[in-house]
């Protein structure tokens, strides 16, 4: 079921379904990065932070699934200053978008060869 609001939103776009699905995937990737980079965490709340990022992405339009893994140094809370802040290089994420029968999978992770936290499209499945 497509709501009236979804039809109205769709009418604003001037591109194909798969191009729009890729645009939506890009939005989600940069939301993960630019909303959450800087967040304080340590070992005891890192899983909680991963789940919350996933859940926040899942409420955005056309998200079928979101997986986030934070790759970080061990950070036991030993004294008041033993914790860290999330950086882009620590994020390993996969988001799947589903729009009008097209599924796009986008991924983000630090690419050692590029020395860059690359966001890319790994798969498009058109029905």
């Amino acid at each position: 079921m497509v709501s009236d609001r979804e039809n109205l939103a769709g009418s604003r776009f001037n591109c194909s379904v798969s191009e729009r699905a890729c645009f939506e995937a890009g939005i989600k990737m940069a939301t993960i990065y630019h909303q959450f980079v800087g967040t304080p965490f340590c070992d005891r709340n890192v899983s909680d932070l991963e789940r919350t990022i996933e859940n926040c992405i899942r409420v955005q339009p056309y998200v079928l699934d979101a997986k986030v893994k934070i790759r970080r140094p061990d950070l036991d809370k030993e004294d008041q200053y033993s914790y860290t802040s999330l950086t882009g290089d620590m994020i390993d994420a996969t988001v799947r978008i589903s729009l009008d029968g097209t599924e796009v999978t986008a991924e983000m992770r630090y690419d050692a060869e590029l020395r860059y936290p690359l966001m890319f499209i790994s798969n498009i499945k058109k029905s």
Copy 2:
């Protein structure tokens, strides 16, 4: 037990214990606001988001406790566009700082009379 690193950090400050505890409280208040404003959420993940903000604040230095309540319109996920983004006016937070026997309680909430999401110190207890 105060660690060497905590002593070293303390040596950088040029003020009283209660002034430093108030400074630490201000840091935590603005972390809640400026890290998380903009986060997408709806009814089904709002409690999860509240808990995660609390847990992220608790890993910062000298936090005894943190409570966050998000005041928002009802937001059932009815279609792809029915969710919202966190704004400062929705945040109701209380953070308690404990430093060298001094406890500071800071609060943030939308103040209708001021028309402003005020952060303020509601209590200081010196031992």
Copy 3:
């Protein structure tokens, strides 16, 4: 001229040029939103903030141009509390992506009919 690093990055993608350009456009849109929502400003620094957001987006990959206009209430700095924080609904942005001869134009603005700050693709030009 395409650098080795750009070729390497390109090899990670599994989609068409225009789909990748749309993905890049989505990244830039959400960077504007999730990086800058919450920023304090008033009349005297709003133009400065608009230019800085544009310049930050222009350093990201494949951006040909970026235009940002902040639609806000008049905010003279009359007392200490007379300023505001950027919200998504205030942002009016256009970003153009250029990748391998394809140009994508994406826009974001508050859509009164949708009651939502919609990000959308308004034009794709394939060479």
Copy 4:
């Protein structure tokens, strides 16, 4: 001249003037950090970003002055991927708060001995 709104805001606080000024200083420090960490920049827009952060902090309540210096690797824009994102360790900031005749100076910079981007109060001048 103290406005009615400033008097009203002041009435919410339950602490001394200097404790409140330190609280305000802490808010500004964490605003710099948590609002702007993650922002994309390179050599050609770094000064512009520094000025904009200063100007955004200056519109917040009770700020007398703000200075921001970003310590970063040289980042000529040589290819599409040659830029960086602001991290806390790059920020060197000084903010001066003035409230009811009390001036508080707070600083933030990466402390090599602590291995931590410390925010601290370096001076309080009571009139």
